[in-house]
Subunit: 540 residues, 2 copies
Amino acid sequence: MPDGLHRLLREGLGVRCDTPVPGSIDELELEPVRLADAVAAELASIVGAPHANADREARVRHALGKSTIELLQLRHEGLLPAPDLVLYPGSHDEVLAVLVVCSARRVAVVPFGGGTTVVGGVVPEASAFAGVVALDLRRLDALLELDEVSRLAVFEPGLRGPQAEALLARSGFTIGHFPQSFEYATLGGFAAARSSGQASAGYGRFDDLVLALRAATPAGTLTLGRAPRSAAGPDLRQLVLGSEGALGVITSLTVAIRPAPEQRIYDGWRLPSFRQGAAVLRALAQDGPTPTVVRLSDEAETAFGLARPGSAGTGAAGTGAGVSSAGTAGQPPGCLAILGWEGSGAELARRRDQAAGLLAAAGGEPVAGAGDEWAAGRYRAPYLRDALLDAGVLVETLETVAFWSALHGLYEAVSVAVRDALTAQGTPPVVLCHISHVYASGASLYFTVACAQLDEPIAQWRAAKAAVADAILAAGGSISHHHGVGTDHREPYERELGPLAIAALRAVKRTLDPAGILNPGILLPPPGAGSARHPTHETR
Amino acid sequence: MPDGLHRLLREGLGVRCDTPVPGSIDELELEPVRLADAVAAELASIVGAPHANADREARVRHALGKSTIELLQLRHEGLLPAPDLVLYPGSHDEVLAVLVVCSARRVAVVPFGGGTTVVGGVVPEASAFAGVVALDLRRLDALLELDEVSRLAVFEPGLRGPQAEALLARSGFTIGHFPQSFEYATLGGFAAARSSGQASAGYGRFDDLVLALRAATPAGTLTLGRAPRSAAGPDLRQLVLGSEGALGVITSLTVAIRPAPEQRIYDGWRLPSFRQGAAVLRALAQDGPTPTVVRLSDEAETAFGLARPGSAGTGAAGTGAGVSSAGTAGQPPGCLAILGWEGSGAELARRRDQAAGLLAAAGGEPVAGAGDEWAAGRYRAPYLRDALLDAGVLVETLETVAFWSALHGLYEAVSVAVRDALTAQGTPPVVLCHISHVYASGASLYFTVACAQLDEPIAQWRAAKAAVADAILAAGGSISHHHGVGTDHREPYERELGPLAIAALRAVKRTLDPAGILNPGILLPPPGAGSARHPTHETR
């Protein structure tokens, strides 16, 4: 990070810059191995010895996801929870066999894709178990079938985003699913966590794209989906999607594909205000033309982009145009929208022109270069977080979703809650927000929060996050639009669903996973535990 | 029916025309009332005496749905199963209270909307219960909220299609959901049975349109959905949608709405063959422009339309154009497609023109008048069935869905299965088919089957239907695209899902409905019963 940014952080946020840096793998102190050697050997024999690994590096690399709390855990003293053994199964049947043995031996199993969870989705609450096995699915990386007529592809779950796209590109197809975790996250993870990509307005969310799936569970195999849609009972595909490894291990996925677009164009637009910008986005989502990518920064995020070295704002300033010139001229910078258009030729031009007319009518002005800069840096933001944490900044993102009529209230409620909670701790934050995904009936809000780290930054953040969860639920939002539940959101998730829906989900869990070995504590409380804050009991 | 048609049926199908006509309500022999007077009084006191009815007419009107088997039951000797009592609750709380009392007294409860089920969805298998109550939801008929910003409306479930549309029309909105049962079916029924309307290509299926819902269950209230989409765990809305009253009684629904279109245009096109027509429909569904209504008759259905008095085909013949002139000139009549376009002005014209180019390139020719005739008669076909049954014809529809690459195989398999099964009984059938709904990845097939009635037409049809179910599953189709499971499809549904998914669903049922009172035998086997043909046991 440039010195200028350090100074900004010190002066703007009161950052002290005496934060510990992460230890090397050898320096980390891991929880001791609990898995009995005999059980480890039994499990290794299923996948073959070369595909079982209990060494320090393998354990560390499967210990955590990518939430700020987890990155902080690597920087502070203390025992790091880590799986006892990492298994790399090579087939559905091997996964089934591992689940059977682990059920019999009461060993917790953590299905592991890209490890990009930001809600504690790979850190089970496994004290009641005889050990923890990470089930790394990277060897399940085949494109099993490409059906160009039905425009679907059958994949194994361990393929990372770029791998899957490369396999399809050979035939001219794309999934069109590009979340910020795209470079590392796997298709299985996209499905298990109901991922939503940056191009969701054009291609749909990943749960829209899954037409069929197979999952291995301790009780056997689930095979769901024979057609685009059906009236044969409830859509049970939707019970596995979003189950975050707590109900089963997805071992194959039938995914909708499309011809890769000839053109991808990303436009930047400055809108006068967040409220006016949101109204235009709503019109595009409801009446079209709907862009493939839709994103709108609020005033603070737009202004911050201008001040951030190497950011889209500064880049645009270099061209002397749009947001930046307005900002540097002392005018309010307004709100930066990024609209992506994919397709070909005249049709794409027509849709883009039509949208441009609506944007201009709402007071929008094009911002030269901003769209391309966004596209070039679209996967980069998460990497900046490590540098900021090293520099003593507590920085994290959080997100929610609501119907349009509740959206501005939700925006205010979350902004106030996180600002108050951190200010009360003596660390007033910067709070930035953008609309990240739009639907006809609503949109998601994606917040970035930064403040000075206290000596116990994990507790500092948890307090803020708890206040945010209360605010989201009170304002009618959902606790997550695309990050999922994991362990971090489990308690507000229980409140969002209510005790009866949670009981129904637990009943499914007991059927598919009678010993409760799959990701204990993720999504649902671990065996034997009640909810910490709001006890789960069935009420009328 | 005109004499010409009678002659056609006699000569073409061997119909004998000595079928019993349905008895009047007074002539029908009903199963005796089993519900104890004290329990009936207890239940009546919940909804108020004026809203509880045990008279013969109320019992008969809630005894059956609208499948051909049920219409035949009204025409043949035998005890008619009928509920002991009909309750008309006026609120969610009254529904909850009824479910509590019925659970305590072991009384089966049949949630009743429009009664338009064609899969036995209102005829429970209730011999293990102390009686049957029909819960008619017609008094729950309010539009509770209209949110024009989010384009959603909150409805009570007892509204019939036309009632809901009329309430929205005051504000210029529509749901856009027009299944053939539209005139009688209710919103709650649309949701509980995953209904798919004729305009599904444009508006989506009803399960796409439900954004939130509340359901009363014997174990309490479920409230699901706070946003268009969420990553907060599995989408449990999809567990209630399609549950056919077996998991809970839907008492409110938040439904996506749209501005009513300025124009609705229905075009008829003649395509050279079913295969070529299906290819064009696939292109429209995959690459657009996608019509709002999409339908393609096969050669037999198209030809039959020409011969049927008062039908679209004859109407078109009257104009001397298109399908009919080709047919009457001795050329193959080809396949009639109906494409509906909704929208306004230039945008609608552009999409329609673009499609016309694709259709013409595929050898299509416009058929003057056919689209409007289809639209005028779009809800009429089911009524003809009664007249045909009276005339000694066994006539019924059945439907399925698959991915595009499996569609023609499924078409052949079902056609052969139903033809062989009826021919083996000495009654070779006429088998007509159309594609009724399209998706990017597949389409549904809707068959109409007609043959001469035997003396035991119910057994005659059941044998054919069993053969069809086997054929559908073997060809990779789903047992129902939009009719649902009910009792008629329960056994093949179990095979389609497999024992583990069925076990998961039963676990949900046990949680929400511990006494198993809700629609016993619908969707899932009734308490104590195994599957007749394929015992449910959990296997690996």
